[in-house]
Amino acid sequence: MSSFATFTELVLDRTAEFADEDVHIHLAEAPAGSAAPGTLAAEHLTYRELDAAARRIAARLQLHGVEGQPVLLLYPDTMGFLKAFIGCLYAGAIAVPAPLPEGSAHSAKGKLSRTTSMIGDCGAKLVLTDRASAPDIALWLATAGHQDVVCLATDTPGFGDAGAWREPSVRPDDLAFLQYTSGSVANPRGVMVSHRNLLANQAALARLLGTTREDRLGGWLPHFHDMGLIAHLLHPLWLGSASVQMTPSAFIKRPVRWLKAIDDYGVTAGGGPNFCYDLCLRRVTDEQIASLDLSRWRIALNGAEPVRADTLDAFAERFAPAGLKAGTMYPCYGLAEATLVVSGGTSGTPYRRREAGKAALERDTLAEAAAGQESRTLVGSGRVLDFDVRIVDPAVHRELPDGAVGEIWLRGDSVARGYWQRPEESAATFDGTLRDGDGGWLRTGDLGVLDDGELYVTGRLKEVVILNGRNVYPQDVEHAVRAVDPQLASGAGAAFGVEAGREQLVVVQEVRHDGDPRELRALAQRVQAMIGKEFNVPAGTVLLVRPGTVRRTTSGKVQRTLMRELFLAGEVRGAYEVLDPAVRAVARARDTLLGEDLLQPAPAAPGGRPW
């Protein structure tokens, strides 16, 4: 496998060797009005077809002189995307996978669409899409002020002349693609992944998962998600096998479709964030389970958001009657800055876990809970194989011993080359130096602890909140909340995550208002609707507070960590507040204990509680 200098070389080799075999199977949702609406129809793509399509697209791209230039890829599904992505590799261009800029026209005032922010940051002058999406994309480009960007629909008949294609000269450290999964909308950061990085991480995946050509990967994660792209779509190419994909909405509408596809197409490895397993637990019926055979599934990846032991156990138990083998649940850890995967367990063996005292963890130490003290179940993220790893005190950059919690630092060929056109942030994140002068470390921003070779991820240094596998940036939420109404515009706000059964978003926003509390409730409802719709995450907890409540530093920076502590201590109270029941139990525990909740006025309606 190491005989390839670039991923492009590898793809050319694979497409020649496995020409007539499937490389990709896309399960498309039949639309309303079709013969069998709501069913999934399989579209197959062979290695030969992929090669031919990529040559045509690359030949066309070469006419635009895109070698070493970013090209934005906007596709509704993986079938068109995969051809365009490989087309970019064949042209020596830098692929930039992105979500369709849908809804941007209806976006709440003040919220920038993620894709708009990405094209602005990467500076792509060329967008590839399909015919169906092209009109919307052209409109978006015009309204976003990118009239100079050329938009091409790659499924137009006669698009590109494969015979005119010339193999580009690409070196291992040239960039293959930009991964825009980290960074807020206001401050996007494109992780620069080189061919060397991509090949190294594919090898790391194979070593961790024990994958071979016999394995099929796939699932429902979008192709602009790092796990969706690197593990589900590109790993099968690296292996010479096939990927099986459906859209996220096809899965969320009917979660059983994902499991059915695993059964029908012999998918052996694939997964997603913890929430997709919860979704299956809640929505797949016993009757459906009785018709499933999941015995060939050997690796159920669980990463990209905190992994929960109760979810893993419940899923393993519930789907055991469908043949799901013990040891299939596979917690893992990775991040876009390391291309994707960093650590994972030994496939076929149960994941590791251990109980840790909460009080000790708060003091950054892994230890058994003292008698009568609370403990927390930590799920092991497996072994770190292809990286040097250190646990480091993030304040003084001192390496910490096993059993101590600190920031996870990494070094290795999978560590990406930095953030696109952001030298300062790249140096701060990708070139950490230990106190003894040892440099070149990736600072992950994640907190963890090593114990007997096992990595346990315990939290985050960064303030990003991870919900439903999405990174939600507090500053984006705060900005959008202020834009909801003039009464909120001048106040400070703090958004942060709290642990209440699962990770939950809390929004504390100052409001200038002296009138009817019912008006505050209507205001809070608009904030909740905006967050649910624009950020795709639940906003069950919103506190509208008096001006001056949100703490800031002397330079005006919102102190989110402090606000979070005050909130959890029950010291932040809203002029109007609505609290998710699980959050209330955590943040208002003392009220319940002291019976103070009985002294409060009755809620005006379920869900709301003015006082």
Binding site: P37, G38, K253, A524, Q525, A529, G532, P538, A539, G607
Partner: protein, 96 residues
């Protein structure tokens, strides 16, 4: 198109029981149905796009009704949803 009025009427009554809708929404929001006020916007209970899409899937599966994924944002309360869906189902009945 030729559905007799009686069938039309019964479809309205039985096809979309308010209780069914409330139960589904309660499931997605992780709270009991009796704590959901049908006049309160569901976002107040923490509704997000996963919940909204899930309900779209249910409507496809149970009633063969294909709705836009934005349905729950356009009709944000249980009351308004029931009103809209009843009309849609009646329309589908007449056409179908």
């Amino acid at each position: 198109m030729n559905a007799p009025m009686t069938r039309h009427g019964s479809a309205l009554d039985h096809a979309l029981p308010r209780g069914w809708l409330l139960d589904r929404i309660a499931l997605y929001l992780g709270r009991s149905a009796d704590t959901i006020d049908p006049a309160v916007p569901l976002a107040e209970y923490g509704m997000d796009s996963v919940c909204a899409l899930s309900l779209c899937g249910d409507l496809e599966e149970e009633f063969g009704l294909f709705v836009e994924p934005t349905l729950l944002w356009d009709y944000p309360t249980v009351d308004s949803l029931v009103g809209y869906l009843a009309a849609e189902l009646a329309g589908a009945d007449e056409e179908g």
